[in-house]
């Protein structure tokens, strides 16, 4: 049997009086794993111990069967690391920097240049990669950070808060990139974030740590399938949204206002389309459609009746968060 991807046993790290990791024992299997915890929960410390940057105070950890203290040299070739903080020298270009780091991972000069160009293209950096990195936007900088972690073709990526500082669109792109890296290239990913919501979109498993202790390990797929919540955002004020939610409720849907959007529950499975009446009062009859479609139709019709524009209409899987909070 091959050793687990990552295994820690009673792993503890203290910084003076502060205990950053407290007897953490966890086994992480291949695939995309999310590491969730508040700031200061010990996510970065765990990443640094796995990388051999920090030594454990007590306990042990291994990466693909190599101990993090004794097997540091073997682990280095297997792991790519994207730190949370800025790490790009402003007067170097991305090509130069990534190729340099590839060489620091032992790749010969020509191969390093080729790999650098390839991974930079892969993360979506084109002409910009020849410019000094000092002028990069946060989104571009995050891409370069991901590229340098990938350049030596690691088996595991350890990504510390990869979406930090990105706008919503940048966040989505970064998450999509991480998901693709994990699913299509067979590279296992340990990605940390303090936002559970964004991790459950791409991860197969979530490890929740709190104050250095393991709180829970949960598989995402089994928990959030089938049911869901629809997030609707309109180009109107809160009062109008409240009215919008009431109209939807009047149609037999479960709708409630949350901050600047309305959440509409989508029932599981197929229902007769006729169960949700159209806004003119007529009840269409006949064929059955997935419940989801009927809800979409209702939302569209109600918005139309109020002459409001829909800014966002999106399925949200909010189950996991509730599960964790319910503990």
């Amino acid at each position: 049997m091959s050793p687990p991807l990552i295994q820690t046993s009673e792993l503890t790290r203290r910084y003076g009086a502060v205990t950053s990791l407290d007897a953490l024992s966890v086994v992480i299997e291949p695939g995309i794993t999310g590491l969730v915890g508040a700031n200061g929960a010990g996510k970065s410390t765990l990443a640094k111990i796995l990388l051999g940057l920090v030594s454990p105070s007590s306990g042990s950890a291994s990466v693909m069967g190599h101990d993090v203290v004794q097997g540091r040299a073997q682990i280095r070739a297997l792991v790519g690391y994207m730190p949370e903080h800025d790490c790009l020298p402003p007067d170097m270009s991305a090509t130069e920097f990534v190729a340099f780091l590839a060489r620091c991972s032992g790749l010969p000069a020509t191969a390093a240049r080729e790999r650098a160009a390839e991974v930079l293209r892969h993360v979506g950096l084109f002409e910009e990669r020849y410019r000094p990195m000092g002028g990069y936007s946060t989104g571009m900088a995050q891409r370069v950070k991901l590229a340098q972690a990938l350049v030596h073709d690691p088996r595991i990526l350890i990504l510390d808060e990869p979406t930090n500082g990105l706008d919503p669109a940048g966040r989505d792109e970064m998450l999509a990139l991480v998901a693709r890296t994990g699913h299509e290239f067979g590279i296992s990913v340990l990605v940390s974030s303090h936002l559970l919501g964004e991790l459950e979109r791409i991860c197969e498993r979530i490890v929740l740590i709190e104050q250095g202790r393991l709180r829970r390990v949960a598989s995402v797929g089994s928990l959030t399938e089938a049911t869901g919540t629809l997030v609707v955002e309109l180009d109107r004020d809160a009062a109008t949204l409240q009215h919008f939610a009431q109209l939807l409720s009047a149609r037999g849907l479960t709708a409630r206002l949350e901050r600047h959007h309305v959440l509409v529950e989508v029932p599981a499975g197929d229902v007769p389309a006729g169960d949700v009446p159209a806004h003119d009062g007529t009840v269409p009859t006949g064929h059955h459609a997935p419940a989801e479609y009927a809800v979409y139709d209702a939302v569209r019709d109600v918005a139309l009746s109020m002459d409001a524009g829909i800014l966002r209409l999106e399925r949200r899987r909010g189950q996991l968060a509730e599960l964790f909070h319910g503990q």
Partner: protein, 302 residues
């Protein structure tokens, strides 16, 4: 105000639009890996390029180019004078290179932080230490880069004099044969300069992430050390000979003159300590600084 934020939003929007991720696939790397040796080589070479400003903006080239030009001009002038006078004015290596010490110190003070302070400031160390580089190997590679550059900078004017002297001679072949004894001191003095300056400036740079502080600290140490040494001599009873060695400007000058068999009035009045005392002292200073550097980098939290 409103206008400004509007601008920023528009720029941010443009940036996001321009950077769409395209699906271009990913290929495994199955090729050769040079491991630790390749990594060491890469880090050293990148260090040398950084120090000399190769492949970097014009601003980064200013200090190395200025120092090289300023230290080599007197050598050229001296050669011209010697050539014009038909050998009446002998080329004096020690007397010529000793005053250039300040330029060498300037070079070390300005450029050492480019490696040691900047790596900390830009936080690239975690990226290096998770690759085929241990902390000790990182220090070795960075120090070697700095030493190589400082050695080359200190060697340049001396080598120019040496080659020039052969070049301007009426009988170059005979002069070359006569000058065999001079290449040793040329290399020794350059090595000595590089050893002390690289090690001390590296240690001071590794103590701070701020480039300006590191430069100021190196220059200050050089400038105040003369006062400190004479203070130690009077108060703590530092032997007079050792004090003479540790005075940076006078010590360096006396060593340079002695190595090339030249002399000055001060040296004729009070005979200076033997050359080996200089070499041992400078060797010791460099070694201490390197030990401090290794200790410091091992303790850096990343």
């Amino acid at each position: 105000m409103a206008n400004e934020s509007g601008m920023t939003a528009a720029q941010a929007g443009g940036g996001a639009e321009a950077s769409v991720i395209h699906d271009l696939g990913y290929r495994r790397y199955e090729g050769a890996r040079d491991g630790a040796r390749g990594a060491f080589h890469a880090l050293t070479w990148q260090g040398i390029r950084t120090l000399l400003g190769i492949g970097r903006p014009l601003k980064a080239k200013a200090v190395p180019v200025c120092v090289a030009v300023v230290t080599m001009l007197p050598a050229l002038a001296s050669l011209a004078a010697a050539g014009a006078s038909g050998g009446q004015m002998p080329v004096r290596y020690g007397a010529l290179v000793a005053p250039q010490l300040l330029m060498f110190v300037l070079m070390a003070a300005a450029q050492a932080p480019e490696l040691f302070s900047r790596d900390v400031q830009h936080r690239v160390l975690p990226l290096l230490f998770t690759r085929d580089l241990t902390r000790d190997r990182y220090v070795a590679a960075r120090w070697l880069a700095l030493f190589t550059v400082m050695f080359a900078i200190a060697l340049a004017p001396l080598l120019l004099l040496y080659l020039g002297e052969i070049g301007i001679a009426k009988d170059p072949a005979a002069t070359f044969a006569n000058m065999r004894g001079k290449i040793g001191p040329v290399l020794l003095l350059a090595t000595c300069t590089g050893w002390v300056l690289a090690s001390v400036s590296a240690l001071l740079s590794s103590l701070t992430a701020r480039r300006a502080y590191a430069t100021a600290a190196t220059l200050a140490l050089f400038l105040v050390s003369a006062a400190v040494v004479s203070g130690l001599e009077k108060v703590a009873g530092l032997p007079e000979g050792l004090a003479a060695v540790l005075q940076p400007i006078e010590g360096y000058r006396t060593l340079a003159l002695q190595l090339f068999g030249e002399t000055s009035r001060a040296m004729e009045l009070t005979p200076p300590p033997a050359v080996w005392i200089y070499l041992a002292s400078y060797g010791g200073i460099g070694a201490l600084a390197i030990a401090g550097l290794v200790w410091r980098v091992r303790r850096l939290s990343v």
